[in-house]
Amino acid sequence: MNNNTRLFARLLLLFSAGSLFSCQTVQEYNKMYLNDAEMVLSARKVQKTELNFLLYREGASGANGGKTGGGCGCN
């Protein structure tokens, strides 16, 4: 595993763990940022091609909103 990836993963996990323990209730009138279209946590329609070719060109799949099986991916 590349050192930079390991560092990125650790920082992300650390930040996530810290964040989860400090969750705040956000009122509806305060959800301007959360409701922004860019903030969606799922993959967007325009990423469909990207998710497909990465699924077929790489050994790993899943946990990103894409498929984990189905289809042959044989080209």
Partner: protein
Amino acid sequence: MQKIYLHASLFFLSILSSFGQVTQQDSTAFKSRKLKTQEINFVSSYYTQDGNNSAVTGGIGTEELTDIATVFDITMARGDARNRLHSYRLEVGFDHYSSASSDLIDPTTISSASARDNRIYPSLSWAMQDDVKGYTIGAGLSVSTEYDYFSKGVNVNFAKFSKDRSREVGLSLGAFLDSWSMIYPIELRTLETPSGPVDNPDAGGTNPRNSYNASVSLAQVINKRLQASAMLDLAYQTGQLATPYQRVYFTDNSVNVEKLPDTRFKIPVGIRLNYFATDRILVKTFYRFYTDDWGITAHTAEVELPYKLTPFLSVSPFYRYYTQSAADYFAPYKEHDRQNEFYTSDYDLSEFVSHLFGLNLRYNSADGILGIKKLNTLELRYDHYNRDTGLVADAIALAITLK
């Protein structure tokens, strides 16, 4: 195929023109029991790749491939007597691809049917959302068909969200029941015997490939600028997992089709964080760890930085780093021992590092775009991908959303 694209485009344009008429805004859609169009999406993309490690020719030779994909979907919704929202979604996709390496399954033809193919994949899904009890349930069916491959899919999902909608826990189960025609490379369709060549009994008919997956997810609002999600998938595949027309050349110069185990168990786990850093800049990150019982371990790290030029227009550069170890059964051209039980020279299963970067342009307006009131979003995305095995790919996609 061009006719299909033309008809799909004309169909989409006719819907677009009908939406061009100014209509009364409906603020009671949720309560209405009448079935109403909620959203229409049209995505079209072009993908091209090239490299020099084709699995069809045993890990050497061109990987040139192009794919043109068009996907159309429409979501309609209605409320019921208990004020629950029922959504129905129909999606139809068309792919047209050409593959230089697939043409070498039978190189004795000038340009065989395998050089290009079409894939058609319709799907239908339903979801019901109950805001009072705080849950969503859904189910879907899908079909995909191309010359040598047929896939049927089914899935069910359930999600429970908190009263203030700051937390959502989801569970989904899915299965794909596929059928694959056994098309062997031309020279392996017969076997040499002392009494002369006989038909290879494995080269013909169809074999099943089934995939089952379970997925658990958690999405959490952390504060007014930050939200996160985590997802765990468990995927199990069984049946014909080796591609029947991919060759392997051995150290003794003999050749066979690749052989892989008939089961595979995959465990990916991913975490995503979206942060609205300033009024104009967002930071979106993703990390995934993956492991399977074929010996592949992989790490994926992504970052995307949307910058809002205006409240409606954003430009997002993105970068993705990926690394994987090789499957236990991989070796390059002429490096496999014939005595091995399993073998492949497919570089998608080799050890490599890849980089993906690109740019996403997004224009979104609730009041319409280009004078078309229902035209809600235009999005253009360009990807450049390279692998340290030499494979290079480019993709461009356009997505249009009507609401």
